[in-house]
């Protein structure tokens, strides 16, 4: 059992820039394990931009969001603030 499928969905959701890499790895794996038919059926979206019109935007968005999130660096205890509750003083100290 491999997890390329999961990796692909994960990449599409969170790091669209990795979609291409996932498919390259996947195809290489199928090639290595002699599964020609599956290999032929699998299309790397990065090589077929015309078939996936939203892909380009997706990759751009992903880059922007990920850089933005990385810069923000929100601590975990901020969740309670988000929920509208006061910050637990004990937790605060630990952080």
């Amino acid at each position: 059992m491999t997890r390329f499928g999961e990796a692909g969905v994960f990449a599409k959701t969170y790091i669209p820039s990795k979609i291409g890499d996932t498919f390259t790895d996947w195809k290489k794996y199928l090639d290595d394990s002699n599964r020609k038919i599956l290999h032929q059926r699998l299309a790397n979206p990065m090589e077929h931009f015309s078939q996936f019109p939203e892909l380009e935007d997706l990759i751009k968005c992903g880059k922007v969001v990920n850089t933005w999130l990385a810069e923000l660096n929100i601590p975990a205890y901020a969740f309670s603030v988000f929920q509208g509750k006061p910050i637990d003083s004990k937790n605060n100290q630990k952080q």
């Binding site: 491999t2 997890r3 990796a7 994960f10 990449a11 969170y14 996932t22 790895d25 630990k94």
Partner: protein, 514 residues
């Protein structure tokens, strides 16, 4: 018959006769109501008879030889001949537990009776044999018969006199030379009598105790009694019943008070311990009662209840204990004698510890344990077991020498710092894991973290790291898990860290190993 002083005969009258080879009297006549008997065969002690309407196999007697043991001298009775052995002369060097030994045996005579019981006098000079209706007294040294008589039951008194049950309402005290000293008439049906510190006369569902000299009434225990065991000069006794046994403390002679006899008599004995397990064979060594359970486990009575000290390979009975050899002698049902080592020093310590636990004297208990320094480490571990059974965990921890035992006690008592120390010494991943779980339960996170790190329990570490907000720990888990190919843990850890690249990498990497 093979080994037995009988011959067996059957005939067309359908009866089986057993005839004594010594007196040529018919000693047994049996009719199994299966018409004419045609054939008979014998194998050991099994007798097979072929009748018109079927066949039958009978077991005659038991294969276990009768024996009595006193002061190192063993008397065995095999097929009405007596053999003595001196177990003190047995070479005990390099003797293994349960290894069969063959002490030298000397034949010292025989008896006309078909023996059912054999017992040494307390001073070891005489022994009696009885077949249930008659008894004979022999000298232990020479085997010479000194006297004989009729009896329905017989025991020795501590004064080396005989207590003879004569009929079902009378008990006589007879000296070994045959003179009647005293006698006691009883107004109930006597089933059995038992010797010991006091004469125990067993009725249908009670036992009455009498003094040997004056034959005064000393007390009463109401229960169905199957066995009574007295230690030598201790105010304790064990009373066996069909369902188990009691450890009783004898609180001295009852004052004569005729008004409230019932109540008084119950106050004479105090129940110390009640065990719901029958014993097949029992023995007091000092103040400690040793017994064999029906499951062939050798146990001792400690203040906290029975403790198993060894499991015997065969169904056996205890012959005795020799203090200077530190050995139990046992005999299995084939008559093979074997030994089991148990240190006498340890028995003494246990006795003291029992007494102290009974008095709830913790200081005395510590002293008692500390006063015996030269026990070997196994003995200390055993003591520790007894202590922990009596919920003296702290002392048990100090007493134990084995790290495994110490660790278990420390864990069960939540002595986590001590447990951690032991873990550091032993460095066993399984132990670290157990310590970690316990520490987590107790809320000792620092110990838990160290234990999980040492035990490499990545799942627990992930849980701990994520709940404590310990990013470093989670990252450590993630890398370690990737290395050990625990991809789900690794993924989870990276995910918590929001390390998307590595999450993705983990998923890709998963392929190589599934």
């Amino acid at each position: 018959m093979h080994n037995l002083p009988f011959f067996a005969a059957c005939a067309e009258d359908g009866k089986l006769n057993l005839v004594s080879t010594k007196t040529f009297e018919v000693v047994g006549e049996y009719d199994h109501f299966m018409k004419k008997a045609w054939s008979i065969h014998i194998l050991d002690r099994k007798l097979a008879i072929g009748y018109d309407e079927g066949s039958m196999v009978i077991q005659i007697g038991q294969e276990t030889p009768l024996f009595s043991f006193t002061k190192g001298k063993l008397i065995l009775c095999k097929n009405s001949a007596f053999f003595t052995s001196n177990l003190k002369a047995v070479l005990t060097k390099n003797l293994k537990d349960f290894e069969s030994i063959k002490p030298e045996q000397k034949e010292i005579g025989s008896t006309d009776l078909f023996p059912k019981d054999l017992q040494h006098s307390p001073n070891g000079q005489y022994f009696f044999v009885t077949d249930g209706t008659e008894y004979a007294i022999h000298k232990a040294q020479t085997g010479k018969q000194t006297t004989f008589g009729n009896c329905d039951g017989i025991v020795w008194s501590p004064q080396n006199n005989l207590c003879v049950m004569d009929g079902n309402h009378k008990v006589k005290i007879v000296s070994p030379s045959g003179e009647e000293i005293n006698s006691l008439e009883l107004d109930f049906y006597v089933e059995k009598i038992f010797g010991g510190d006091l004469l125990g006369v067993v009725g249908l569902d009670f036992v009455v105790f009498y003094d040997y000299d004056s034959l005064d009434y000393m007390g009463k225990v109401i229960d169905q009694i199957t066995d009574i065991k007295w230690p030598i000069k201790q105010d304790m006794l064990v009373v066996g019943t069909p369902d188990g046994f009691y450890l009783l403390e004898y609180e001295g002679a009852e004052e004569e008070d005729e008004e409230d006899e019932e109540e008084e008599s119950e106050g004479t004995f105090r129940v110390v311990e009640e065990v719901e397990d029958r014993f097949t064979s029992g023995l007091w060594v000092d103040q400690v009662f040793f017994f064999l359970k029906e499951s062939s486990k050798l146990c001792l009575m400690s203040a906290g209840g029975p403790m198993t000290i060894g499991s015997l390979p065969y169904k056996s009975s205890i012959i005795g204990y020799l203090k200077n050899q530190n050995l139990f002698y046992l005999m299995d049902d084939k008559g093979v004698i074997f030994t089991f080592a148990f240190s006498h020093k340890l028995i003494k310590t246990i006795a003291k510890a029992n007494a102290m636990i009974e008095e709830e004297n913790d200081e005395g208990l510590t002293k008692a344990i500390n006063s015996f320094k030269s026990l070997n480490s196994k003995d200390y571990d055993f003591l520790s077991k007894i202590l922990s059974a009596n919920s003296k965990q702290a002392l048990a921890f100090k007493t134990a020498k084995d790290n495994q035992i110490k660790f278990n006690i420390a864990l069960s008592e939540k002595m986590l710092t001590e447990a951690q120390q032991i873990c550091e010494e032993m460095d066993d991943p399984m132990k670290w894991k157990r310590l970690g779980d316990e520490a987590l339960l107790a809320g000792r996170f620092i110990i838990a973290k160290r234990a999980f790190l040492k035990g490499e329990d990545l799942n627990s570490l992930l849980m701990l790291g994520s709940s404590m907000g310990d990013g470093q720990l989670v990252e450590y888990v993630a890398r370690k898990a990737l290395k050990f190919q625990h991809f789900s843990v690794s993924f989870c850890a990276f995910w918590i860290l929001r390390d998307l690249e590595n999450c993705h990498k983990t998923l890709i990497n998963s392929k190589r190993y599934y």
